[in-house]
C-alpha cells in the first residue's frame, strides 16, 4: 500500500485545492493519519473509495475525540528599544530579550475514520476531520453517502460528542434518548448528582459522594 505521504500527493493531484496534512504517530505502531479539510472532504472520500490503486471500499470505524482548549507557553525573542544612559547622555539602545508568551489554542472536536480495502486487502488509512470549535461551529460533512457503514457510527458520534454531520440522511441520537441534552463523552460533561448511596466509595466517587453529603447538609439536595 502507498504510504501516507504518497496518499497525500495522490489526493492533492486528484482533488485540487483539498487541504491535506499528514499527522505522524511517533509511537511504535506508527499509524500515521491524514487530517483533511472539511471543504473538500466528500470529494477526497470518493476519490479514496474509487481510486483503482487504493480502492478503500470499507469504512470500519468512526469515532470522535474531544480536544479541550489548550494553553500554550512559548519562548520568543523580542527586540525592544530601551532608553539608557550612556556616558551621561540618554540614548536609545536595541536590546534582545527572551519572553514567555502564553496563548490559548481553541479546542475542537475531531472525527476519526478508519478505512480498509477488502478488494486489495490493505489498510487502515486513517482520516481525521476537525470542527472549528467545540461550541457553536461543530459541523462536519457526513461520509454516509460515500460509505453506508458510517450511518450509525456517525449517529453515535453525534450523540456522544455532539458533532453535527451535514448530509447525513437521519441524524438522530443513537444511544441516549431524544430528550437528552448533553453529550456524555465530552470531557466537560457533568453527570447528574446521584451519589446519594455509595457503600464502597473511592477516589472520584468518594469525592462526589462527599460533595453530595455536604449538599444535603446544606439543604440543597433532598436526600
Amino acid at each position: 500500500m502507498k504510504s501516507v505521504e504518497e496518499i497525500k500527493t495522490a489526493i492533492q493531484a486528484a482533488v485540487p485545492g483539498a487541504a491535506v496534512k499528514v499527522i505522524l504517530n511517533p509511537s511504535v505502531s506508527a499509524q500515521h493519519s491524514l487530517l483533511i479539510g472539511a471543504e473538500h472532504a466528500v470529494e477526497v472520500a470518493e476519490f479514496l473509495r474509487d481510486d483503482a490503486e487504493l480502492a478503500l471500499d470499507f469504512l470500519s470505524n468512526v469515532t470522535g475525540v474531544d480536544w479541550l482548549d489548550k494553553e500554550v507557553a512559548e519562548k520568543v525573542k523580542v527586540t525592544r528599544q530601551v532608553p539608557k544612559m550612556v556616558d551621561g547622555d540618554e540614548q536609545v539602545i536595541e536590546e534582545t530579550v527572551e519572553e514567555t508568551r502564553k496563548h490559548v489554542e481553541p479546542g475542537y472536536l475531531e472525527a476519526v475514520y478508519h478505512l480498509f480495502s477488502v478488494a486489495k486487502k490493505h489498510g487502515p488509512v486513517i482520516l481525521r476531520m476537525r470542527t472549528a470549535n467545540r461550541t457553536d461551529q461543530v459541523e462536519l460533512p457526513s461520509f454516509t453517502p460515500v460509505w453506508r457503514s458510517a450511518e450509525f457510527q456517525e449517529r453515535e458520534v453525534f450523540d456522544l460528542f455532539g458533532i453535527v454531520f451535514e448530509g447525513h440522511p437521519d441524524l438522530r441520537r443513537l444511544l441516549m434518548w431524544d430528550e437528552f441534552k448533553d453529550h456524555p463523552m465530552r470531557r466537560d460533561y457533568v453527570e447528574p448528582d446521584d451519589f446519594e448511596y455509595e457503600p464502597t466509595p473511592h477516589d472520584e466517587v468518594l469525592k462526589r459522594a462527599q460533595e453530595h453529603k455536604a449538599k444535603v447538609a446544606a439543604g440543597e439536595a433532598s436526600q
Partner: protein, 204 residues
C-alpha cells in the same frame, strides 16, 4: 392458623386430609411461579441455562416462561438496566397482574454493578420497583438463581392472607401502579421513586 400437626398425622392415617385455605393457596402459588420471558443482558444467558435440562427449573414449577406480562407472576431483572430501558421495565412491571414478584439478578440489577458510574446505567432497579429477592454475582450461576427461587417460595409460603402482614395484592391500600420515570434532559425524572426506595443507612 395451622392445623395441629399430631392431629393431622392421626387424620392422615384414617385417610382424611386437612389443611387451611392459606396453606393451600400459598402452596398453589409458590408451586407455579411463572416468570416473564424477559432478558436484559448477560445474566439472561444464565437464566436460560437454568431453565434447560441440566438445572431444570421445571422442578420448581417455574419452567413456563410467559411472553406476556399479563400472564406472568415473576419478573427476573436479568442484567444491566440502562436508563433508556428503565421506564420500559417499570411499565412491564405495571402490566403484570398481582400477585407479582421481582428477582433482581446479578450485580447490575441490584446496584449498577461494574457499570455503576456510567452515565447511562441505572444504579439498581429497586429505585423504581419493589424487589423481593436480590442475588449477587456477575453473573450469578444457575444454582444462585435456583436459590433465589427457593427463597421466594419460602417467602410466599409464609404470607398470611389476612392481618397487617398480608401481602400487597391483598391490601387495598397498597399501591398497585408504580410511576414510570420520564426521560429528562440530563437524567431520568424522577431519579428514584421515594415510595419504593430511600437511601439505605451505611453501617461501618
Amino acid at each position: 392458623m395451622a392445623v395441629d400437626q399430631n392431629l393431622n398425622i392421626e387424620l392422615g392415617k384414617q385417610g382424611v386430609f386437612v389443611t387451611t385455605i392459606q396453606d393451600l393457596y400459598n402452596w398453589g402459588r409458590r408451586s407455579s411461579i411463572w416468570p416473564m420471558q424477559f432478558g436484559l443482558a448477560c445474566c439472561a444467558i444464565e437464566m436460560i441455562a437454568t431453565t434447560m435440562a441440566r438445572y431444570d427449573l421445571a422442578r420448581f414449577g417455574s419452567e413456563v416462561f410467559r411472553p406476556s406480562p399479563r400472564q406472568a407472576d415473576l419478573m427476573i431483572i436479568s442484567g444491566t438496566v440502562t436508563k433508556k430501558m428503565a421506564p420500559q421495565v417499570v411499565r412491564l412491571y405495571n402490566q403484570m397482574a398481582e400477585p407479582r414478584y421481582v428477582i433482581a439478578m446479578g450485580a447490575c440489577a441490584i446496584s449498577g454493578g461494574p457499570f455503576k458510574q456510567g452515565y447511562n446505567v441505572l444504579k439498581g432497579i429497586d429505585r423504581y420497583i419493589p424487589v423481593d429477592v436480590h442475588i449477587p454475582g456477575c453473573p450469578p450461576r444457575p444454582e444462585a438463581l435456583i436459590q433465589a427461587f427457593m427463597t421466594l417460595q419460602k417467602k410466599i409460603d409464609e404470607q398470611h392472607l389476612t392481618g397487617q402482614e398480608r401481602p400487597r395484592h391483598l391490601d387495598e391500600e397498597a399501591p398497585g401502579e408504580f410511576p414510570v420515570p420520564k426521560f429528562g434532559e440530563h437524567d431520568l425524572d424522577p431519579p428514584s421513586n421515594p415510595g419504593t426506595w430511600t437511601v439505605p443507612k451505611i453501617i461501618q
